[in-house]
Structures are given as structure tokens and as C-alpha cells.
Symmetry: C2
Amino acid sequence: MGVSRRDLLRGAGGLVLGFGMGGIAGLTNGMAAEPQTGAALLPWPYKKLDVDAVAERGYEGYYKGACCYGAFEGIVGELRKAVGGPYSTFPTEMMVFGEGGVAGISTLCGSLNGAAMTIFLTTGGAEKGGKEKAFALIRELFNWYEQEQLPDYTPRNPRFQIVRSVSRSPLCHVSVTNWCKASKVKSFSKERAERCAWITASVARHTAQLLNDNAAGIFKAAHAIPASEQTCRGCHDQGGVLENTRGMMDCGGCHFTPKTRHPKV
Amino acid sequence: MGVSRRDLLRGAGGLVLGFGMGGIAGLTNGMAAEPQTGAALLPWPYKKLDVDAVAERGYEGYYKGACCYGAFEGIVGELRKAVGGPYSTFPTEMMVFGEGGVAGISTLCGSLNGAAMTIFLTTGGAEKGGKEKAFALIRELFNWYEQEQLPDYTPRNPRFQIVRSVSRSPLCHVSVTNWCKASKVKSFSKERAERCAWITASVARHTAQLLNDNAAGIFKAAHAIPASEQTCRGCHDQGGVLENTRGMMDCGGCHFTPKTRHPKV
């Protein structure tokens, strides 16, 4: 199409029409006009952040609203100070939903969920091509989380000292279990909560570093998908002979430990 | 504390101070005041929704911004029409982040991620006790998704006809794999995309039903955690002899298929 979304935005005298052609197509198809979002279009403006300030805000945020809130507020709270504008309109309280892998269900680590949203908010967009940069940053963050010894940030006023572990998974319950094994500490202890506060701080800090690098034009992915996972994907992912799944998680984090082998191929 | 958050809000002449005592404690500790969020406090006002209208908006939303956007916009788009107000300020475009289990990484099903956020936005809150109702609704949604034959909603103008399957997991790649097995269709086909559009519509629709029931005071959880999972949790979750994990996912969806047995206990 010859008219960009931003041209339409300007033509509408500041009224944001929402992304895509849905609203406009609706009008040309004779459907009733309806209220469109008045939110600022993505990406929202970004300013280089102090990564340690982000980490400390993430750590404190964990004890106010848990992991997802802490990671999101770590970044967005600092952007509210540095940029203001749209960041002051966001209901960050909503991020409490992601606690313990969403409402304690222990699916996706809440700090990753919250951090991924800050990445999309500051680098993404729904137009064709608008999501690719954000997705590359999110994938790097998730691979880093799976592969590194974490937490890698010590808060200024810690409640306990925390052992590091490798999660091999972006999932809450796997990450927690691997840390419990490494630390010999129980999963509902105050020490485990503190570990997740450090993880929240570490994830928020690393996300801010990725966003700073991206803003400076020097972002480069440093964590590739493991070779073992590429082997799995060779048969099971897009273009493989089976093509019966999708994903970029470390398959071996859950499937086929030494005790449980892959069927013969 | 004797002064509620809403009292503080009113006392501040409309300025939202953010939740918890962080901002206030900061002030009394002599830290500099800083910009607080100006977003409306949770829960945001809810009006009974037409569940089929939500489903159709979710289906169309999938083809604009994928699963997480579709489910979120299915609900929030209808609330923008019915309620307006704060819903018109939310940057729904951000929800594109959750595509394919977040940036295609295939962790948490994007439609569940988006739907969980709409539940928290309309029924949750960060104050003590404010999250329990929202978490109960989210857990019911996730259990329903794991246990039911889905998708259970057929869009008005479908691109293909879609076979149903049981996911046994809230994770994107598990849900996709189980559908690929049931349908004998590949994971990167147009039919699989259409299946995920139907899933998005089904999840958005069921979420609207749960929210309608909650608003009418008749919500009751209909899907319990499976007995097999309760057995696992007896040793591994809070209070168990091992207490080395946490969660409310169906353990057997991934662990200990007939080929891979639990170690002797």
C-alpha cells in the first residue's frame, strides 16, 4: 500500500487508527466505525538506561508484585523517569498476572515474560518487518537465560546469598527445580523467593543491556540455539521430515535425559 | 496500614501513586520523588460481553497480530466498544510479542498469555488479596485448555475445517504437536495456522464466558488439577518430602509417557 500507517496517523490529525488495515477496511466495507485505541504507536521512545538501576528496581519490584512485574517495572519504571510520555500511561500493575509462570502455574518464567514485553514495547511494531528486531532481541534473552549460570547480579542489600545454576529452560518450574537441585534448598523457601528476586534483577539488567546495545546499533546475538536442539529441529521443525512441532527451547532441558532415550531412528 | 491505596489516590487529587508503599516509603526515606504511573488502577471496569463477538474479533485478530494479540484484542477490543475509558489507552499492539509462545520460541501458548492478562486487567489488583480472584479464573482457563477437546468454536468464515485435539499442556509446542498428531497435518502449514486462529477464538470466547460468570457472581471452577498431577505434587510441591519444584501443569503431558517411567520410589 502506498500510504503508511504513520501517514494515516498524521492525516487523521493525531487520531491513532490502530495498526493494520482492520479499522480502515472495516470502514470501506461499510461496517460501523468503532473506538480505536488512543495509545501511542510502537516502538515507544527509548533512552539509554543505567543497567544497575534497572536491576535494583527489578529486585524491589519482585517483593511488590513478583517476577513478571519486577522485570517489567525494572525497565518501564526507569523509562518513566527518563522518557515519561507514554510510559506514564501504562498499567504496570497488570504484570502481577505473570507471577510464578502465570498465576503460579509455573509455565513461562515471569521475569522473561515481563522482559519480553518491554523489548517489544521499545523496539517492536505490528507492521510487516516491525517485529523482527524485537523477536531477535527476545530470542537472545531467552537463550542467554537457558545457557548462563544465573542469577548473575547481586542486589545491593540482599536478604540471603544465592547459589547459581543453569536453567536449560525458559520455564518457571524447570528453572526452579534445577536451582533447588544445585542449592539443596526447597522450592517454597524464603531463599528460593530471594533467588527469583535475583533472577528478576538479572533478567531486567540483561534486558536493559540488550536494549542499550540495540539503541547504540551494536546489538549482536551472543547465544545460539544449541547443536543438540538443531539436531531435533532437523526432523521435527519447519522443513523436517516429520515437521510436527515448532520452537526454540532447549529440547534436552526436558526430553531425553540419560534415563529416557529417543526412539531409534 | 490505616490509609488505603484509594484513600491515598483521592488525597493526591487524582494523581495515581502506583501500588504498594514503594513510592511513599521512598519519599519518607528521603529519596527523590519520581514520576508515578498515571494509569487507572486495577481492576478496570467490566461489562458483560457477547462471547461470539469476542471469538470473531479474536479470530480476525490472529491474522493481524497472531495468537496473543488476537486473544487480548478479542476481549479488550470489545471492552473498548462497551466501556471505553482506560481500554482506549492500552497499547494492544504490544501483544504481538506473544506470538507462537513468545517470539516463536514456543513456550506458553500466546492465546493463554494474552487471555490471562485480560483476566488480571479486569478482575485483579496488586494489593493484598487483589490477585486471588484473578488467579482462580486464570487457573480455571489453563486447566480447561489442557483438558478439553479444542478448538471448540468454529469461526463464521473459516479458511479450513479443523480437527480437535487435547493439548494436555498450556505450552505452544506441546499443544501444536498433539494437534499435528491428531490431524496428520504439518506444523508450519496454513491449516495449522488456521487451527491456532480457532484456538485463539476459542480461548478468547471461553475467557469472556468466565469473566461474564464472574461479573454475575456465578463463577465456579469446573476443571480440577488431574489426580495424577496431585500424586506428583504430593512429593515434589509445597510441603512434599522433596519440595523441589512448583506448578499446576499436567506433569504427564511431558514427563513419564509409557516409554519413560518414573524412577522407583
